[in-house]
């Protein structure tokens, strides 16, 4: 690796404080820089498949066939226009947004007040309810799919947005409750008590004091649930078989799957269309996503 070549020149600008230690310090610092460069290279290697996906999305199939690894020649931006229409991208985007919005509203409207009670009122039943929600974090989705299918059939809402919204809201409640409760346990109660002394009822206290306090946690939950819904294929595969209701991920799955052997010039734009919005959201809001990932590390 050639990355260490620039180091000595840069280093000479920082003379060591102690003359005797200079060679040792210099070696240490050089090692540190080399290790930093290597870490950047490793990061880049991890990203190679993603880079490959993006580059290949603007290459022609013939180009990819001739040179599996290479830059676009010619640049085939036209790959996208055609695929977006054939996949019904705009429609599926709209479906995903409707389902995600509905589920998120339900998760927060049900999860936040419940978490407030579970965090603040310690009784036997609140502890039991909390444990029930947390146990829900471990249930594999296929354990509940068959009965859910029968249930949705009975309710007459198979193949409607409602089915997906109710299922997603329920599946994501454990995470929301868990996250809100750990957030509340590390937040002070004084404001809530002051509000009560001022004569606020429970509803007013929740709405004017607790819910605003929960805002950062709510933001993380919104992003986390959106990610989970956007990336899921199982629920739409089973509960949204109507073509007009497909979510983005399902439409990529059925587009690629139904084509038999799909050409590279079709596959990569489809996959990029399915991932790009999330990658952008991740890059902008990564702080919240990292907060969600490390949620389990807080107080238990």
């Amino acid at each position: 690796m050639t990355t260490t070549t620039m180091e000595p020149a840069e280093l000479s600008g920082h003379p060591a404080r102690d003359g005797r230690d200079r060679p040792k310090r210099r070696a240490l610092r050089l090692g540190h820089r080399a290790s930093a460069s290597l870490l950047l290279i490793v990061t880049l290697v991890v990203l190679l498949p993603v880079i490959l996906m993006v580059i290949n999305s603007v290459r022609t199939s013939g180009d990819i066939g001739a040179r599996p690894i290479g830059l676009p020649h010619p640049l085939a931006l036209g790959n996208y226009g055609d695929i977006a229409t054939r996949m019904g991208y705009v429609r599926s985007l709209l479906n995903t947004l409707i389902i995600a919005a509905g589920s998120i509203v339900l998760v927060i409207a049900a999860g936040a007040p419940a978490a407030w009670v579970l965090a603040r009122r310690v009784r036997r039943w609140t502890r039991a309810a909390y444990r029930l929600f947390v146990a829900g974090l471990t249930v594999p989705v296929f354990v509940v799919t068959t009965p859910l299918y029968l249930l949705m059939q009975q309710l007459g809402i198979l193949d409607t947005y409602f089915a997906a919204i109710l299922i997603y809201a329920s599946f994501n409640l454990p995470f929301a409750v868990f996250f809100y409760v750990s957030f509340l346990r590390s937040s002070p109660q004084e404001l809530e008590e002051a509000a009560a002394l001022d004569g606020c009822g429970p509803l007013a206290t929740f709405w004017h004091v607790v819910f605003p306090l929960l805002r950062p946690a709510t933001a993380t939950i919104v992003i986390f649930v959106s990610l989970a819904i956007w990336n899921d294929v199982v629920v739409p595969l089973l509960f949204l078989t109507d073509d007009n209701l497909k979510t983005v991920t399902l439409s990529v799955y059925s587009f690629v799957g139904s084509q038999g052997t799909v050409s590279s010039a079709e596959l990569f734009p489809a996959v990029v269309l399915a991932s790009a919005p999330l990658i952008v959201i991740f890059l902008v809001l990564q702080r919240h996503i990292i907060a969600g990932i490390t949620a389990g590390m807080g107080k238990r």
Binding site: I69, G136, V141, L151, I167, P202, I293
Partner: protein, 290 residues
């Protein structure tokens, strides 16, 4: 705030109803279904443990059980080892920590379906990037039909899973590192601790809570593997990559064997509960005793 008993209930009720109706009730009725011979809309007679007896002697289920366990053990061990190394590396490089974390976490943000398709292309024997790369390095003898060979297919899918989630686990370990007061590291360095010795005596014990969370989450995730397999191998070649989730999907929604499919689902549920409980018990006890 002193919540009255009544308002406490009212505040909790919507969440409980939503959760019980669409998660708890289906889970319980799935267990009930597993003791019946229900197929699609017909049947539903109680048959006791027949489904379970049949499942445990059904080669499709026993091989799916084995595949799921192999996939899980390989994924969890390799992913957590790599993630721990990566986190320790990122911790020691504060200036590029954030960019390395974003870069390595990014694969976990892409849907399993998209990842599965991209990696199928990477593994493809005819002009796939991996084959081309090995050829370029003069290592074509190592080349395989990765996803078409029963000896490599499951591990190839596991490698994709590891690629996807190593950054996720590393994020958890890194937050463990960042919660250790830096004075402890400085004091240890003064005492001459470094490298492996420092990791063994200091970091490994202090990372206890991160280890519990990362190992438990990666185990639960790996046990339910479905999408990568459906997209990359469709269970093949020769059923060598069928997972329990794949078999449940196939039985319940392919053949409409609701009762039988549910019994396999109960096996998966039991497996997950046993793994999750024993892991958290063992790993938490380790945290406390330190």
């Amino acid at each position: 705030m002193r919540l009255s008993r009544r308002s406490a209930w009212l505040f909790t009720l919507p969440a409980l109803v939503l959760f019980i109706a669409f998660t708890v009730y289906p889970a319980v009725s799935g267990i009930a279904l597993s003791f019946t011979d229900r197929r699609g809309a017909i049947g539903g007679t109680f048959v006791g443990l027949d489904n379970f007896a049949r499942a445990l002697s059904d080669p499709a289920v026993t091989s799916a059980l084995r595949n799921t366990l192999v996939f899980t053990v390989v994924s969890v061990v390799v992913q957590n080892t790599l993630a721990l190394g990566l986190a320790s590396w990122m911790y020691r490089q504060p200036r590029i920590r954030s960019i390395a974390r974003i870069g390595t976490l990014l694969p976990a943000m892409i849907s399993l379906v998209a990842v599965g398709y991209v990696w199928s292309f990477i593994y493809s024997p005819l002009g796939g990037p991996l084959t081309t790369l090995l050829k370029g390095l003069g290592l074509q003898s190592l080349s395989r039909v990765w996803l078409g060979d029963p000896h490599t297919a499951l591990l190839a899918v596991a490698a994709t899973n590891i690629w996807m989630y190593t950054g996720y686990s590393a994020t958890i370990y890194l937050s463990g590192y960042l919660s250790i007061p830096s004075e402890i590291f400085e004091a240890a360095q003064m005492d001459g601790a470094h490298g492996w010795g420092m990791f063994r005596t200091l970091e490994w014990p202090l990372l206890g809570p991160a280890l519990t969370v990362a190992v438990t989450l990666s185990t639960i995730g790996a046990l339910r593997v479905f999408e990568l397999i459906t997209v990359m191998t469709n269970g093949g070649p020769a059923n060598s990559t069928q997972s329990l989730s794949y078999v449940i999907y196939n039985e319940s929604f392919g053949k409409l064997h609701f009762g039988y499919g549910s019994s396999v689902a109960v096996i998966l549920l039991l497996l997950t509960v046993v793994f999750a409980l024993s892991l958290t018990t063992v790993l938490r006890r380790r945290e406390v005793s330190l």
